[in-house]
Every structure is written in C-alpha cells, then in structure tokens.
C-alpha cells in the first residue's frame, strides 16, 4: 500500500501534468467560450447558447493516459516498482484527480444555473441533458467519462509497451474493422431509424453505466497487458 502511494507521489512530482494543465485547459476553454458568447449576443442572437468546451480537459486525459504510461513506466521500473504497484498507484491517482474535477464541474454547473448562464444564458458546465439529473448522476457521469478516456489512452499505451508499434497497429485495424462491419450491417439491414430511436433513449445515467463498464474492461485489459510489458 505504502509503495502505491509512493507511485502517486512520483506522478505528482511534476504537478503541472496531473493538476496544472487540466485546469489551465479548462480555464482557457471557458474564457474563450465566454468571449464567443459575448460576440454572439452582440450580433443579436436571442436563444440560449451551448458550448462543448467543458470536454476539452477530458480529451487531455486521453493524452495523459498515454503519457502517464509511456514516460513514467520505464522510469518506475528503474525506481524498482513492480508493474502492479505502478498500475495501481497511477490509476488510483488519476481517479482521485478526475473525481475532484467532476465535483468541480458539478459545483460550477450550480453556479452557472444560479447566474442564469453567466448572465448570457449560456450552458458550459450544466448541459441540459446532464444537468437535469441529481448530483450523484452528474458527478458520476463526468467522472466515468474522464476515466474512460484516460483508460483508453492508458490501454493503447500498454499495448505499445508490450508489443510496440505492431500491437497498436493491429488493435487499431481490428477496431476499425469491427466498427465498419457494424455500420455495414446496420446500413444493409436498413436499421438506421431503429438505431436512431435506440440512441435517443439513452439517458445520462445509462451512458454512465455503460461507460463505467467499458472503463472497467479497459482497466482489466491494461493490467493484464502491462503485467508482462518490458521497459
């Protein structure tokens, strides 16, 4: 347990990576959005305005997942840390950071609603579809989404660590084939309307559950792959 915490401390030596950059990305994206809204209002738009800018730090987590592994894993080996300990420490640290950020999103969403969309009727943190749920679902939704992206990056990086370029390439190609096959089946079977209805039925809660399931699968696969990876 002690060494797991040490791994987290190692990852935090450069505080920018796990804490500074996500906050900076979020702040920049938010300020830019506000500026755009101001311009739009000036141009005479009346309806409420939306922004997907809150996603920005989440995509950074995809990169962070890759980075946390490719850069720190070989170094953690030199620090005489087992793969298991490295894995647990890194994933645990990320989960905690992502949870903190999710709670921050929720709180900012409350502020957003209270100030009627930052005074310009905008939706940045409290997107209608998510914000209509209770606090737990909202926080869980953000948390799962961030974790899913992080694990996706982490998993591709473990593939690289274990099987190098061949592994990543094979995985990407197989994934593309599966997606293409699915699209083909839907198209030839004329199932698109049904798929549309099916997608519309998703709620934030069910997306959260599915995402959590996927994240857990990726986490498991990452661990099994990493166990035999070499620096």
């Amino acid at each position: 347990m002690n060494r797991i915490i040490k791994v987290a401390r190692m990852q935090l030596i450069n505080k920018w990576t796990f804490i500074g950059i996500p906050l900076l990305v979020l702040a920049c994206s938010f300020l830019l959005t506000l500026a755009i809204w101001a311009i739009v209002r000036r141009a005479g738009a009346e309806d409420s305005v939306y922004s997907g800018g809150a996603q920005a730090p989440m995509w950074y987590f995809l990169a962070l997942g890759i980075q946390a592994l490719t850069l720190t894993f070989p170094f953690s080996m030199a620090m005489s840390v087992s793969r298991r300990t490295f894995y647990l420490g890194t994933v645990a640290l990320f989960s905690v950071c992502a949870l903190a950020l999710s709670i921050f999103y929720y709180l900012m969403g409350l502020v957003e609603t209270a100030t009627s969309g930052w005074g310009v009727n905008g939706q940045f943190f409290a997107l209608g579809w998510v914000a209509e749920n209770n606090a737990v679902v909202q926080i869980a939704f953000y948390w799962v989404l961030m974790s899913l992206l992080f694990m996706l990056g982490f998993f591709s990086a473990t593939l690289y660590m274990r099987w190098r370029t061949t592994g990543v390439l094979l995985f990407t190609i197989s994934l593309a084939v599966v997606l293409l096959g699915t699209v083909a089946i839907i198209t030839y079977g004329d199932h698109w309307p049904a798929v549309g209805q099916w997608l519309a039925a998703w709620t934030a809660g069910s997306v959260t559950l599915l995402g959590a399931g996927l994240a857990v699968v990726l986490a498991g696969a990452s661990y099994l792959t990493l166990r035999k990876a070499t620096a």
Binding site: M10, N14, L71, P74, F75, A78, M79, S80, V81, R227
Partner: protein, 305 residues
C-alpha cells in the same frame, strides 16, 4: 541470520525470437562484494541484469535475489537499484526531479551524497533530462545508483560519455562509499582495465554464456606473454595452454595460461625471453575470442556430420 545469496540463477536462459541472449547461466553470488560483469556489447549483460531486477523475465530457468524471485515482488525489488544505460526518464523531468523520485522510493537514499555528487559531476540539475548530454545523462544514473545505497546496485556501463576526470570521480566515490556502507555492487563494463582493480569477483559473459566466473585474484597474473626467438619461445612454452599466438618473422609472442614460478623466470632470463603480465582486459579478450572460436569449431563439426 544466514541469508540466501544476493544473486542466484539456475539454468537461466532468454530467447528473443531466434536470438539466444542468455544461455544456461548459473551464478551464485554472496552479498556485500563488488562484482564485475564484463563482456562485449550485446553479450547479454543488460539482459541478465534486467531479469535479475524483475524488469524482464526469463524464457527458462530461475533467478533469485536474496532467495526470492524478483519479478513483481515489491519487497525484493525495493532492495535493488538498476538504472539501465539507456534509461528513459519522464519527458518533463529535470535531474532534480528524478532525484526527488528516487528519494521517495529508495529507503536508504542519502541526499547529502547525491548533492555531493551533483557538485562533483557539475550536473545542471535544473535542466530537463531530455536536454542533457550523454555524459550528464550517465551522471544522473550514477548519482541515483550511488545515493540509493540499495542492498544490490547494478551499474550498467555507467561511464558512457563521461570524461576521464568524471570517471575517476565515480570510481573513487564508489570505493569510498562502499568502504563505509558495504553492499552488493554489480558493475557492468566493457572498459575492463579501468575497473579491474575495484573488483573482487569477475564474471565474463560472451554470446549469452558465462565464460569466466572467478575471483579477481585468481585472474591477476593467471596468464603471461612470452616474447622472443620463436624456437626458444616454443621450447619455453612446451606443454602450456596457449591463449594467443602472434608472430613477426622469427619473433614469436605467445600468451600462455598459468602462473610464473621463480624457476620459470630464471629459465626465461637464460633463454633471453621477455616476460610480460597479461591484464584482465587482455585475458577477457583472449578468453572470449577462444570461446567464440571453440563454438564455431563445434558448429562446423556438427555441420559436417
């Protein structure tokens, strides 16, 4: 408490696709000594150290550190420090941050020693490791290895890119610190002459096989070179194991295995032959060349069958 050997391997082999990187390696090394792991580039030194430190795994056989398999075993791993020659550091790390991380993980870490070495090597700790020169990069590894004071420390070609002064600093500090805090040190090197006086025990690896595994003192003076008139040299070395032969006209130079007795010295003087000692480096070169020749010989014989 009688403890298991610091390092133990049984029939350890490692195969990469069609390359036999390690071939039936058997070692039993007691703790608190300085070992030399010598051999050419690509002989299998780094592979062996990677397996001993759980960073890699064997294809066959076993490796144990203080009686435990190091692979994924944190209690054992925490007693080891191995910075590889091509060690990667996080991209955004400065040397000072790498030391900070090392201080977190290595329980015996000595910050004073680390700082002292930073000054001795003149290392710019505030610069990103990515931007350091080869020598400075080696210095980072050396400092972590030394200051960790781990029970078993592996130095993997630690002198790469270091100038003569910096290398001497490393060797001097190593002796000094080892004298105060005895521990097991494995020094991997192909610059044998530089380190030979530091070693208590020598392991020479060639094409994945152990070709020499002996106490340093058994190897010092264990061979000599006789130079002079070819006929007289032949007479003097009759019945000896010849490691190497050079000829220049009627002049011959033979490297022979064995220790010189006073009787032999007198005899050589009477015959007008020159005797010179063989350094560990030369001995290793001769042994590895002979091992390679023997192997090729057997392969040719097998091919003929």
């Amino acid at each position: 408490m009688s403890e298991a050997p610091a390092i133990l391997t049984r029939a350890l082999s490692k195969t990469y696709k069609d390359v036999r990187a390690l071939d039936n390696v058997n070692l039993e090394l007691p703790a608190n000594r300085i070992y030399g792991l010598l051999g050419r580039n690509g002989a299998g030194k780094t592979t062996l150290m990677s397996i001993l430190t759980g960073q890699n795994f064997a294809t066959e056989g076993e490796a144990e550190i203080f009686g435990h398999t190091p692979f994924e075993h944190d209690p054992t791993l925490s007693r080891i420090c191995f910075i590889r020659e091509s060690q990667k550091y996080p991209d955004d790390f400065k040397a000072s941050q790498a030391f900070k991380a090392a201080a977190i993980f290595f329980e015996n870490w000595n910050e004073e020693l680390a700082q002292d070495l930073v000054r001795a090597f003149n290392l710019p700790v505030k610069r990103r490791i990515k931007k350091l020169s080869r020598g400075q990069l080696s210095a980072v590894g050396v400092i972590i290895g030394m200051a960790s004071r781990a029970e078993i420390t592996f130095f993997d070609e630690p002198y790469l890119g270091l100038d003569a002064v910096a290398r001497q600093i490393f060797y001097d500090r190593l002796i000094e610190d080892f004298a105060q805090f005895p521990r097991t040190i494995v020094l991997s090197s192909h610059l044998i002459d530089e380190v030979s006086n530091l070693l208590e025990h020598v392991i020479v690896i060639d094409q994945g096989r152990i070709v020499i595994n002996a106490e340093a003192e058994e190897l010092q003076g264990a061979a000599f070179t006789v130079t002079g008139n070819a006929q007289k040299v032949a007479q003097f070395t009759a019945g000896c194991k010849v490691l190497h032969r050079d000829a220049l006209g009627s002049l011959a130079s033979l490297t022979v295995q064995g220790r010189l007795s006073d009787q032999q010295r007198r005899e050589a003087a009477e015959l007008g032959l020159d005797l010179s000692p063989v350094s560990l480096q030369q001995l290793v070169v001769r042994s590895t060349l002979n091992a390679a020749a023997d192997q090729n010989g057997t392969m040719e014989q097998e091919a003929r069958k």
